[in-house]
């Protein structure tokens, strides 16, 4: 009895979590201009229109460029930091860890305001560098968490053995540590990519008028020029991020709770 109730409840909650996503996918193949229910007929026309709209294609490209640069940077910086946090002993270790994790608990609007202020002080007026800087900041805690989990998961004596056999620090890192943590590093890269690809608020506040990423494009279509193309574009990005999730999961399955 309790079991059946709990099963039904779980099912309901999953329906609640997925209803909106499924609804967007359904509306993307709805022939009508209006999001009415029940759907009057089906069509792939909105995809054709979305993919032939230069501003949507450009936004997709911008998002991809920003996310690639930001995730590579976040992963490099974050992996180095994770190695220090897990392997090295130093006095301010706890403080350093808290500082790197802080973008998770600091309200995003505050991070956005700080970057906006910096950008204005330096007379940047938006642009790629400041957007990327913000996305790296937001991605770091995720990279560090995933890579640290992986580092905790393997035996440190492997690195010691390499050093005993005469490998120097750099060689040990490249030949022993890195290959072992690689799944975590790639996992962190994918997470940081998604964090950047989906980021709205920081981008919205600091991008200026020239950079329009996909979330900004969807937001402005929602506001100013509503068209079902928005559902088609959204479905495309939903599928991009979900396929990344499957790759991520395959890589980090063994590290629990990620």
């Amino acid at each position: 009895m309790v079991n059946a109730l709990q099963r039904a409840w779980t099912l309901l909650v999953y329906l609640f979590l997925f209803a909106p996503i499924v609804m967007v996918v359904i509306m993307s193949v709805n022939r009508s201009r209006y999001s009415v229910f029940p759907v009057p007929g089906w069509s792939l026309d909105w995809y054709r229109q979305a993919l032939s709209d230069p501003s949507i294609v450009e936004a997709l490209r911008t998002s991809a460029v920003v996310a690639v640069i930001a995730s590579v940077l976040a992963t490099s910086i974050g992996t180095l930091a994770a190695v220090a946090l897990v392997r090295l002993r130093f006095r301010l270790r706890k403080v350093a860890h808290a500082a790197f994790m802080s973008p998770l608990i600091i309200p995003e609007i505050i991070i956005a305001i700080a970057l906006l202020t910096l950008s204005t002080t330096l007379d940047f007026r938006g642009g790629y560098p400041i957007v990327v800087a913000g996305h790296v900041l937001m991605g770091l805690p995720f990279v560090i968490t995933v890579v640290s989990a992986r580092l905790y998961g393997f035996d440190q004596s492997l690195e010691e053995a390499a050093r005993d056999l005469g490998a120097d620090e750099v060689r040990t890192f490249l030949r022993v540590t890195l290959p072992l943590v690689l799944p975590g590093v790639v996992g962190g890269l994918l997470l940081a990519f998604t964090v950047s690809f989906d980021n709205f608020l920081v981008t919205f506040m600091v991008a200026g008028s020239e950079i329009v990423t996909m979330p900004l494009k969807i937001y402005s279509m929602l506001r100013f020029e509503f068209s079902p193309k928005i559902h088609a574009a959204s479905t495309v990005i939903i599928f991009i991020t979900i396929s990344l999730l499957f790759v991520y999961r395959a890589l980090t399955r063994k590290d629990r709770y990620l």
């Binding site: 709990q6 099963r7 409840w9 779980t10 909650v13 609640f16 979590l17 997925f18 209803a19 909106p20 996503i21 609804m23 967007v24 209006y34 999001s35 009415v36 229910f37 029940p38 910086i77 180095l80 930091a81 190695v83 220090a84 090295l88 130093f90 500082a99 790197f100 608990i105 600091i106 309200p107 609007i109 505050i110 991070i111 305001i113 700080a114 970057l115 906006l116 202020t117 910096l118 002080t121 800087a133 900041l137 770091l140 968490t145 989990a149 620090e169 998604t194 690809f197 989906d198 709205f200 608020l201 506040m205 969807i218 937001y219 929602l222 990005i237 979900i242 999730l245 629990r256 709770y257």
Partner: protein, 294 residues
């Protein structure tokens, strides 16, 4: 100095270099792109705003205004209240789900877990505007209500408090379920078995063993959901409109609509200090489940 001392000094210097090479880039990034700009925001928050111009003249007026003008106090109180309401909904809604995945879903566990993190990987803009379709006058919810004969006229959900709360619960529910799931999964099944072997029924086992041991996960989930809800921008913006504005929306409009950066800065600093103090007190009072946060 003895040869030993020199060698030790060399080792110590190498260790310091190694440490700097590892955490240097990250520290620099945080300093340049957050800490230093945050201090510029702090400085600006003490500047005056005269005839639409920022004047570098010291004043406490901006902070006095944050606390004196009822509008802003209301927005802060409202945002905190939304945070509490969303936690109060998400905890009872999410706990049974986390428990189900951790304890009862044997073969489907991986699928259920993946499904739980899919929303996290899906654009928040998309997930939020999708509720506009669901809750609209000719959306699915009204269609179901009307076909069930519960209402004749479509109910106007959008731009109201319920729409915002539904959206917020939807966006943040996974952050409640995941840490609870992690702390339940970590528990040793033997403990529950032992309680039952000693004669405790299932309810008693849950109340005395399972639930208390999952408290770190509950605490982490509540904190994440609370902090994220209080700082939401998109959900009140898209589903609520101006009357539902929360702290982040008000700060954004000070920066982009009235251009009163000193006052916007004072709001930001107040909000940041509040968040940090809240986090410090909360994590001191309750042992957070570090490994479960993500």
């Amino acid at each position: 100095m003895s040869a030993d001392g020199t060698a030790a000094a060399t080792v110590a210097r190498r260790e310091r270099l190694k440490l700097a090479a590892h955490i240097g880039p990250g520290t620099l990034w945080l300093l340049v792109f957050f800490v230093v700009p945050a201090f510029i925001v702090l400085r600006t928050s003490f500047y005056s705003f005269v005839d639409g111009q920022i004047v570098p003249q010291f004043t406490l007026e901006n902070y006095l205004r944050v606390f004196r003008e009822p509008l802003y106090a209301e927005v802060f109180v409202k945002s905190l209240a939304y945070g509490l309401i969303v936690v109060a909904i998400a905890l009872p809604v999410g706990y049974p789900v986390a428990h189900f995945i951790a304890r009862k879903a044997r073969r489907n566990r991986e699928i259920l877990f993946l499904a739980l993190i899919i929303p996290f990987w899906t654009s928040i803009v998309v997930r939020t505007y999708a509720w506009k379709i669901l809750l609209g006058n000719s959306g699915l919810v009204n269609y179901l209500l009307q076909s069930a004969g519960i209402t004749d006229e479509p109910i106007r959900f959008l731009f109201s408090l319920p729409a915002v709360l539904i959206g917020l619960v939807h966006v943040f529910l996974p952050y409640m379920i995941l840490p609870i799931y992690a702390s339940l999964e970590k528990q040793e099944a033997e403990l529950e078995q032992a309680a039952q072997d000693l004669g405790a029924n299932r309810f008693r086992t849950f109340v005395r063993i399972t639930f208390p041991l999952s408290l770190p996960g509950v605490a982490t989930g509540c904190m994440l959901v609370f902090i994220m809800t209080v700082s939401s921008y998109l959900t009140p913006d898209i589903l609520g409109g101006p009357s539902q504005a929360m702290i982040s929306n008000v700060i954004q409009s000070e920066y982009f609509e009235t251009y009163n950066w000193p006052f916007g800065g004072a709001l930001s600093v107040t909000f940041l200090v509040f968040s940090l103090v809240f986090f410090a007190i909360y994590s001191r009072l309750i042992k957070l489940d570090g490994g479960a946060a993500h």
